[in-house]
Symmetry: D4
Subunit: 250 residues, 8 copies
C-alpha cells in the first residue's frame, strides 16, 4: 500500500465513509493463506505475473493435495516441480485436467494464457536433457516460446556454431551443461543476449556432483552469463522467461 | 553470415559483380584485431551493442595503452575495470578525456550515447559499496539509469521494506551483499523483477572470502535470483543492463 | 566437591565420625554407571536439570534397552533422539508408558514435570518441519512452552513480519532453515531475543547437504544468532530451553 | 505498531484529534536514519536494549565520524569493533570521553549504565586472548560482570577442572579456542549453563584459519554448546550477555 | 576449408563449373548428424583416427540403439564405455558381432584394424583393476599393444622395480592408483616416457572418493606425469594411445 | 643384501664354490609371489614381524581364496580386514580354523604366537566401538595385550579421569572418536605415552563423514598425538602394537 | 593420587599425624603455576619426561620472558618453537646459555641430559629441510640420536633405496615431504619401524599449502605410517622420540 | 642392469677378468651425487634425454650455486624454474653464458643441441602469458619448435577457429587458461593431437586460485586432454616436448 492509497483510506476513515474496523482489517490484512503446514503467498502472482511454484519432492501427498487445492480454488496456475511419479498419480486423480511430464518431474495445471517472449534452451550433451526439459516446460508454462538446441557441447564446437542464429534470435538463453560446463562461456561469447547458465550434476570423479560446471560458469570469461544452482532447470526457465517478459511488464 | 547473404555473395561472384579476391576477403575476414599479446574482438560491439571490456588489473601499462589505443582508433567506447590508480594515471595522461573512478577502479572513455533501461543497485552494508559502484558505473557507462539503494541489509529489514517501490520500478536489480548474503533472497522475494546477485568478499572467518554469500545466493529460495562471481560488480552491472535493454534490442 | 565440604569431611575423619573407608568411598566415588558398552553420566541431571539424552540412531536394540532401563531404574526422564521406527517399537513394548513421535524420531518417557520458559520454533519451509519438530518436542520434554511458527521463509517476508510479536514474546527462538538459510538473519534482525539457528539439509546442488545454510547462519549480520550443527533439531531445542530456564536456575 | 495502537490512532483520526497528515507520518515513519552511505537502525536499542554495533575495520574515518556522531547525538552508547589504531586516534580526538582497547580493537563510548548478569570468558591458550578480550569488553560494555578464565586448554585438563565452579556460577560462558577447539566440548560437559563457542584462527596447517576449531564446536558432543563465526569475539560476548539478561528483560 | 580450396571453389562458381546451389551446400555443410536427442560428430574419426566414443551410463537403451546404429551405418568403430550389463544385453542382441567386457563396462564393435604403439597399464593394487581394464581395452580397441603390470604399489616398491624394463619399453604408461596415489610419482621417476596418471576412487575416509590420489598426481615431483579425472580409465587409455601414435601420424 | 654379503657371494663365484647360475638366482630373486591379479609381498613378515594384511572389502571371493591360500601355504598368519559376512563364510568353509569377527569385519587365521606389549583402546562413545574393535582385534592378532576403555568421551570428562591410570600403564593408546574428536587431545594431555588417534565417521551434518574429528586430531594441542585415516581401526591397532614392540625388535 | 596414597593420607589425618589444613592443601593442590596470561603445566615433565614446550610465534616478548623464566626457576629444560629472530634475541640476552637455531626457529635451554633412542629424519627435497630441522633439533633436545637422510624423494627412488639400512636401524623415522607426499608410503613400505609422517606446505597450485601431502600420508597404503599436522616438525620429532623411549620408560 | 649383463659380469668375475672389488663397485654404484643438502639424480639425463630440472624458488643462493655448479661440471644442461630476479643475478655472475627470462622466471644454461618436435602453446588471455612462456621456454630448451597462439579464449571463439590449423600441425599442444578454463575443451575438440592443459591462477572470487580452471580441465568432455598442476607451465612444456620426441627416442 503506497502513501497515496494510505492517505485516501485515512481520509475515508476521517470522513466516516469507512469504518475503523474496516480500515484496521485493510491495514492489517496480510497477503497470504495459512494452511497450518504451509503459508501460501497468494500475492505472488501480482508480483511476478505467475503464482508461487511448489517444490514437490520433499512434500507428502496430503500436503500437496492441500496446497494445489488452495491454489486451484484461487484460480491460479499450478506448477509443481521435482514431483515423483507416484505422487503425480495421486494429484492427477484429483486434478484430471493437469499434465505430468515424468522426464522433467513437472506437474502443470494451467489457468489462462500467460504471455512471454522467446527462450532458447541449449544443452551440452544428451544426459543434460532432463534438466533442460525442466527449464523448457517451465518457460512454456509461463507463456514463452521455447527453442530447444540439444547436444551441442564444445567437444565438437561446429555443432554449436551451426545453430548460433537460432539462439541469438531469442530474448534469453538457458545453457544447461555438466562436466566442465564450458558451453556457457562458448555460447555467451557467440550471442549478445543474456545467458542463464544451469550447471548439471552430470559427470563423475572431479565433477563433484556439478561443482566443477558451477565454478566454470561463475568464472565465465563472457560477461553475459549469470548462474543458477546445480540442476536448477526450473530456476533457469523461470529467470529467462522473466527476462523475456521485461518488455511487456512495464 | 547467413545462408541468404552467402547465396547473394556467390551470385555476385558468378555474375562477375564481385571479384573472387573480394569474396575470399569477405569470407575469410575474421572479426578481430591481432595486437600480438592480445586479440581484440572488435565485432563484439555488434553482438552486445557494447565493446569488449578490458580487465585492467593483471595487464601492464604498455599492454593497456596498446589495447585502449586500438579501441579508440576504432571509435569504440572504452571501459577498463579493476584498474590500479598508478596505471590509471598513465592512461589518463594519454587519453585526457577519460574518467577514472578510484573507489570502483573503473576507467571510462565514452563514445556516443548508448541507451538502456533502469537498473537498481542495492547493497547490504556500507562495506559493499565499492563493488556496488563498479556495477553502477558500468551500467551508467552502458546507458542505464541507476537507482542506488545502499545499506539496507536484513539485520534491519524495515530499511529494505521502506525502499521496495524504488527497486520494483527498475527493469532489473543488482543486489550486492557479503557475509551471509541474505539480502538477495529477501529482495528477490519482495520484487517481481530479475535480480542479479553479486556476492562480496566482505566478512571474515567462515565467510571464506565471499563463498558463504555466493552459496546463499545460488541456493536462494526466491526464483528470480541469478548469481555472479564473487566481487564481480562489473558483471552484475553489465548483465542487469543487458536485461534492461532486451526491449530495445529487438 | 568444593573446599568447604572437603574440609568438613576431613574433620569428620579426624574426629572419628566417619571411617577412613567411607571417606575413601566418598572421595573416589565417580558419578557414572558402567554398562560395559556405555558409561552413563548419571550426575548430568544435576548439572542440567535434565538427564543425558540418548542418540538412538547408531545403537542396537539391545544397547538401547539396557541404557533406557538403567535410566528408568534411576527414575530419570528418558529422551531418545533419531530413533528408527522398528527400534521404537521394541522400546515401546518394554516401556509402554513412553511416547514415540515418528516424524521427529523422538522417544520420550517422562518422569516428573520439569519447568522452563517460552521457546519459539520457526521454519523457513514445509520441508524443514521434521527438524523443527525434533526441536519443539525436545523443548516440550524439558518443560518449555513452544510456539510453532512454520513456513515463513524470506521469499515472502511479509509472512514473517505478520508473526513477529509471537516470536519476540518468547525467551529464545529456534530458527530452522535449509537452502540459503536467510531466515536466521531476517528473524534475528526483527526480534531482540537470542536466536538459535539450526541449518537443515533441505535443498539440492550447491546447498551441499546444509553447508550453505550453515555458513549463512555463522556469518549472520545479526548479532543475536548462534548456530547449531546441520539438522540438529534436538540441540536447538535443548539450547533454547536452557536459555529460557536461565532465570529459574539461579 | 500493534493492532490496539493502530485502532487507537485511527479512532483519533476519525475523531479529528489527529490530522490525516500526522497519521500518515506516524504510519509511514520508519525507524532509521539515512546518512547516505549508511542507514542507522536507531530502533535497535529498543529491541535489544543496546544500540547497533559498528564494524569499524572496513569503514573510512569519515564514515566512522559520521556514524558515531549520529549515535552520540541520539544519546546512544557507541561500540565500534575491529577498529584499527589510526582510525581510533581520529575518533578519540573528536570524542575524548571514549575508550579504545587496542588488543581487542574495541572503541567504547558509554551512555548510561546497562545491567546484565554474569558471563564467564574462557580461553584454551594465551594466543586466544585478543578474541576473548573482544568478547569480555563487549559483555562489560553491555553491563555484564565478566569472569576471565584464561589458558585452560584440554592438553592439561586439570587446569580447567580447578576453575569449574567459577564458570558454573555464571549465567553463560563464552569459550574461545583455536587449533582443535576441544575446550568447548570439555567445558560444556563440565557445566550446566549455555556455552557460546567462539573458534579462533589460532593454529597452522590443517587448522585452516579456524575451520578445524569451528567444525569441532559444531559437532560438540555436549548439547549446551552453540557456535559463533571464527574470531567473532564480539558476537560471543553479545550473545552470552543477551542470555544473562533474559531474566531482566521480561 | 582452407583459403586455397575456398579460392578454387569460388573460381569454379565464377566459371560456371559449379552451381551456386552446390557451393552453398559445400560451404554450409556441417560435419555432423542430427538424431534429435544427440548430434553425432562424424568427422571426429578424421581428427583422431578414431570415432566419437559413447558414454553409456546415463543414456537410455533407445538412445544407445539409435546412436550405435548411426555409427554402424557409417562403418565406424563403436566404443561404448560405462555400459551397464542390462543395456549391454540389449545392444548385443541387435549387434551380435560386438563384444562386452562386464568388469570394465566396455562395449566394442570393431571396424577395420587401427594401428598404434605400445602402452603399459600399471596398477597399485588389485582393487584398481576395473579402471585399468577400461584403459587397457580402450587402448587395444584403438590398436595399441598393451602390457599389463598389476598390483605393484609403493608399499612394496621392489615389485615395481622388478618390472621397470617392461614399462620403460612402452611409448606411454597409464598408471592407475587410489588411496595416496604415490605410484604415479614413483613410476614417473623410474621411466623416461610420458606417464598418464589415473586416480581411482579406491580407498576410504580421507581418500574422499579419489581426491587424495588426484591431488597427489597433480602435485607429482616427477615432471613426466599428466593427470586424468578420477576413475577415467577410458581417458587414460585413449590419451596414452594417442601419444603412442604420434610417431605414425605424421 | 648388504655390501659384505655381496662381496662374500662374489668371492664364492670367483672361487668356483657357487655357480654363476646360482648367483644370478640369488641376485635376481625378488621377494614376492606373483598371483596374476596380486603380487604378494612375502618378505614383509621379515620387515614387520607380521605378514601383509589383506584389505578384504573390494576383492572377489576368488581373489581372496587365492591370496589367503598363498599365505597359508607359506605358513604365515592371515589377517583380512573389512571383510563382508558372505565372503567370510566362503573363506571359513575353506579355512575352518580361522575366526571371523563380524562387528569389526576381521578374519583371522593365526600361525604361531607373536609377542607385543600393552595397547589401550579408548573410545568416545558407544558408536565408535566397531572401529575400536578393529583396532583391538588387530593388536591382539599381533600379540598385544589390549585394555578396552570404552564410552569415556569429553562430554563427561570424569569418566575418562577415572580410568587414566589404566591407559597410562600401556605402551601406546589408540583413541577412537567421531563428532568433534576432542577425546584425542584430552587423553593425550592426561597420559605420557604415544597416542594413535583414529577419527571415525560417527556423527552427522558438519561432521562430514569424520573430517571434523580428523582435523581436530591433526590440530591436537597435545604433542603426543599422531593421526590415522578416518575409520582406520586396523591402522591404529597395527601402529600402536608396532610401538609396543619397539623393545623386543632390536 | 591413587587410592593407596589417598588411604594413607587419610589414615595420617585420622591419627593426627597430618593436620586437616595440610591434607586440604595436598588434596586441592593443583599441578600448575598461574602466570595470569598463562597457566604452566609443571607436572608435565613427570608425565612425559619432558616439560611443556612453548609455541613462540604468537606470544609477545613479555609473555615469553615470563614463561621461560618460570620454567628456568623450576629447573626445567626450555624448548620454544617457531620463535622469530627478534624475539629470540631478547630471550638470548636474558638467558645467554640458551641456543637459537634460526632455520628451524627453535630456542633451546637444556637442563640435565635426557636419554632417548635413535630417530631417523628423512626429507623428500631440499625445501623440506627447515621443517625437518625442527624435528631433528627437537629430538636431539629430548636426548635422541638423530640420523639425517635428506633429499631422497620418490622422483629418484634409488636415492632412498641406497639409504634404507640407515633408516631401518632407527627406532622410529620422521618422514618430511611436501608436494604429493609419496615419500611416506615409499619409506614406510621399505622399513619395519613406525614412521611419523610430517606433510610440508612446500609446493604450489593444487598442493593447497600442504593438504595434498597431508591426504597422501593419511591414505598411505603402508600400515606403519601415522600423520602429523602440516609443517609440524616439532610434533614429528617429539612423537618419534617418545616412541624411541618406550623401551627405557618401563 | 639386466640379467644378461649381470650374468656376463659374473662370468668375468669367475674367469678372473674382473676383480671382485671392481664388480662390487659396479653393482653397488648408485647413479647420484650427494651434495649434503641435495642428492642430484645424474642418471636422469639418460632416462629423459634431459637432466634434472631445478625448482629455484625455495632454495637459497648458496644451494643453487652448488647444484648448478655440480650439473655444469658434469656437462649437463641446466634449467632452473621459478627463479627470483635477485637469485638469478647471483647465478648469472658465476655462470655468465646462461640466460634468464624474468617474465617466466626461467634460468637456462644450455649444453649441446637437443632435438624435439613441434609444440603449440595456446593461451586464453593476456594474463596467462607468464605461465605460457614458462612452458614455451622449457620446450625450446628441450629442443622443441614452439608455436605461440596467445589470447584466443572462448569468449570470442572465432579467434581460436582462425588459428586451428596452426595448432593441429603440432605434435602436442599446451593449453594455458585461467578463470573457467574452457579453452582446453574447446581446443581439444578442434584438434586431433594430445593436449596438455595447464590451469592458471588467473581470475578472482570463485576461481579459487586456479581450482575452477583445474576442475574444468579434469572434467573435459574432450578425451585428448590431460592436466597439469595449477600454474605448472614448466610441466606442460616438459610433457608436451616428451610427447613430441616419442619418435626419436626409440
Amino acid at each position: 500500500m503506497d502513501e497515496a492509497s494510505l492517505k485516501a483510506l485515512l481520509q475515508q476513515v476521517k470522513g466516516g465513509k469507512v469504518s475503523v474496523e474496516h480500515a484496521v482489517g485493510k491495514l492489517k490484512d496480510l497477503p497470504f493463506a495459512e494452511l497450518g503446514y504451509a503459508t501460501l503467498d497468494t500475492h505472488r502472482s501480482l508480483r511476478f505475473g505467475f503464482p508461487e511454484v511448489v517444490l514437490g519432492g520433499p512434500k507428502t501427498v496430503e500436503q500437496l493435495l492441500g496446497i494445489v487445492g488452495a491454489l486451484v480454488s484461487r484460480k491460479q496456475t499450478v506448477l509443481v516441480t521435482r514431483l515423483q511419479p507416484d505422487k503425480a498419480e495421486a494429484l492427477l486423480e484429483r486434478f484430471p485436467k493437469a499434465q505430468y511430464h515424468p522426464e522433467a518431474g513437472i506437474f502443470h495445471l494451467p489457468q489462462g494464457k500467460p504471455k512471454a517472449g522467446i527462450v532458447a534452451v541449449v544443452t551440452a550433451g544428451t544426459s543434460d536433457i532432463p534438466v533442460a526439459e525442466e527449464a523448457a516446460l517451465t518457460a512454456e508454462a509461463m507463456g514463452a516460446t521455447v527453442r530447444r538446441v540439444y547436444d551441442v557441447g564444445v567437444a565438437g564446437i561446429h555443432r554449436l556454431l551451426a545453430r548460433r542464429e537460432e539462439i541469438q534470435g531469442a530474448h534469453a538463453a538457458v545453457v544447461v551443461a555438466g562436466m566442465e560446463g564450458a558451453l556457457a562461456s562458448a555460447c555467451g561469447g557467440l550471442v549478445g543476449i543474456p545467458v542463464v547458465a544451469v550447471p548439471t550434476s552430470v559427470g563423475y570423479g572431479a565433477s563433484f556432483g556439478g561443482v566443477s560446471a558451477l565454478l566454470a560458469m561463475l568464472n565465465s570469461c563472457a560477461s553475459n552469463v549469470a548462474t543458477m544452482n546445480i540442476d536448477n532447470g526450473f530456476g533457469g526457465g523461470f529467470y529467462a522467461t522473466l527476462i523475456s517478459r521485461t518488455q511487456g511488464r512495464r
